[in-house]
C-alpha cells in the first residue's frame, strides 16, 4: 500500500474507508504519487501522522506517571490510535519523548490540554492545503476530535 518513501492518496482513502463511512472516493481511482512526483498531500499526511504518534506517546507517558488517570486518559489515547489508523500505514518521523513528573496531575492535564489544542489548530491549517476532499474531511474531523479532547480534559481536571 505504501511505497518506501511515498504515500499514495489511495492509502489515505483506504484508511478512511476502513474507519469512516464518510468519504467518497469517486475521482480518486489510483495512487497520485509517483517517484519524482510526490503527492501534494503527502506532507500533510506525514505531519498529521507524526503528530498523532506524539500524542499517543504523550498519553502513554502521562498514564505511566500518574496511573490514577488511566481510566480517563486511555480512551482518549485510543481515539488518537484510531486517527492514526484512519490515515493508513504512513511513515512518519519518530514520536517525541514527552515526560511528565510523577503525581503532577494538574500540570499533566494542562500539558495534554495544550497539546490537544495545538494539534487541533494544526489540523485546521493543514486542511487548507490538502487536495483530496476525503482527506480534508478526515483531517477536519480529527481536529474537531482533538478540540473536544481539550474540552474533556478540563472536566477531568475538576
Amino acid at each position: 500500500m505504501v511505497s518506501r518513501n511515498i504515500v499514495s492518496r489511495r492509502a489515505v482513502l483506504g484508511g478512511l474507508a476502513g474507519g469512516l463511512a464518510v468519504a467518497s472516493v469517486a475521482g480518486c481511482s489510483g495512487p497520485i504519487a509517483t517517484f519524482g512526483a510526490p503527492d501534494p498531500d503527502d506532507a500533510a499526511l506525514r505531519l498529521t501522522a507524526a503528530s498523532e504518534r506524539n500524542l499517543i506517546a504523550a498519553y502513554e507517558a502521562a498514564i505511566v506517571a500518574i496511573p490514577t488517570l488511566a481510566s480517563d486518559l486511555n480512551p482518549i489515547a485510543e481515539q488518537h490510535r484510531q486517527h492514526l489508523a484512519a490515515l493508513g500505514d504512513v511513515e512518519s518521523p519518530p514520536s517525541g519523548s514527552e515526560t511528565f513528573p510523577a503525581e503532577d496531575r494538574t500540570g499533566t492535564l494542562k500539558a495534554l490540554r495544550m497539546m490537544e489544542r495545538a494539534a487541533a489548530k494544526e489540523r485546521s491549517t493543514a486542511a487548507v492545503a490538502i487536495a483530496a476532499p476525503a482527506f480534508v474531511e478526515i483531517v477536519t474531523r480529527i481536529g474537531a476530535s482533538e478540540a473536544g479532547h481539550a474540552a474533556y480534559l478540563t472536566t477531568v481536571a475538576k
Partner: protein, 177 residues
C-alpha cells in the same frame, strides 16, 4: 452540490432555535453558557446569510422545528444542546471538503468550536465527531442504541436527533443538512 453557506445558515438557525427553547430549563451557570453559545450560533447564521447575499443567493426559508424528544428538565436540555452541537460538527466537517482556502479554514475552525461545546454539554468525546457511531446517536428515528465506547460520558450522552426543521407545522420535518 448545495450551496455550503445555505447548509450552514440552516444548521445554525436550528441551533439558535434549540438554545432558545432549552436555555430556560438550565441552571444559572449553564444558562450563561447557553446564552453565549446561542449568541455564537446567531453570529454564525448571520455570517452565512451575509455570504449568501454576497453570492446573490437567498437565505433558506424560515421553518418550524420539532424537538425529537421530550424536553422537560435540565438533563434533556443539555442533551439537546450537545446534540445540536455535534450535528453542526458534522455539517461543518462535511462542508469543509467542498470549499477552499479561507472558507475551508473557517468551516474547520467552526467544527472545532461546536465540538468543544458538544463535549462541555456532555457529549462523549469521539475519534471522528459527527460520523460513525456519532451518526448512530443522531439517528432521526431516535432508536439508535447508545454508544458502547469505553469513555465515561461527562453527563448524559445524546441518543437521538436534534431539532429537525419541518417544512410545515405537523410534518415529520427534515434533517439539518
Amino acid at each position: 452540490m448545495s450551496e455550503p453557506w445555505a447548509d450552514v445558515a440552516t444548521g445554525e438557525e436550528a441551533a439558535v432555535y434549540a438554545y432558545g427553547v432549552l436555555t430556560p430549563l438550565l441552571g444559572e451557570k449553564d444558562r450563561n453558557a447557553a446564552i453565549s453559545a446561542a449568541t455564537a450560533h446567531a453570529r454564525a447564521r448571520d455570517t452565512a446569510r451575509d455570504a449568501l447575499a454576497g453570492l446573490d443567493k437567498n437565505p433558506p426559508m424560515p421553518v418550524a422545528y420539532e424537538i425529537p424528544f421530550d424536553l422537560n428538565d435540565e438533563a434533556t436540555a443539555k442533551k439537546l444542546a450537545a446534540l445540536c452541537e455535534i450535528r453542526l460538527v458534522n455539517v461543518y466537517a462535511t462542508l469543509a471538503s467542498q470549499v477552499q482556502g479561507q472558507e475551508r479554514l473557517h468551516f474547520s475552525q467552526a467544527s472545532q468550536e461546536c465540538s468543544v461545546r458538544a463535549v462541555l454539554w456532555g457529549q462523549r468525546p469521539s475519534a471522528f465527531p459527527g460520523a460513525g457511531r456519532d451518526q448512530d446517536m443522531i439517528d432521526p428515528s431516535g432508536t439508535a442504541s447508545r454508544s458502547s465506547g469505553s469513555l465515561p460520558a461527562t453527563s448524559d450522552t445524546p441518543a437521538s436527533a436534534p431539532p429537525a426543521p419541518s417544512s410545515a407545522p405537523g410534518s415529520d420535518g427534515a434533517t439539518l443538512e
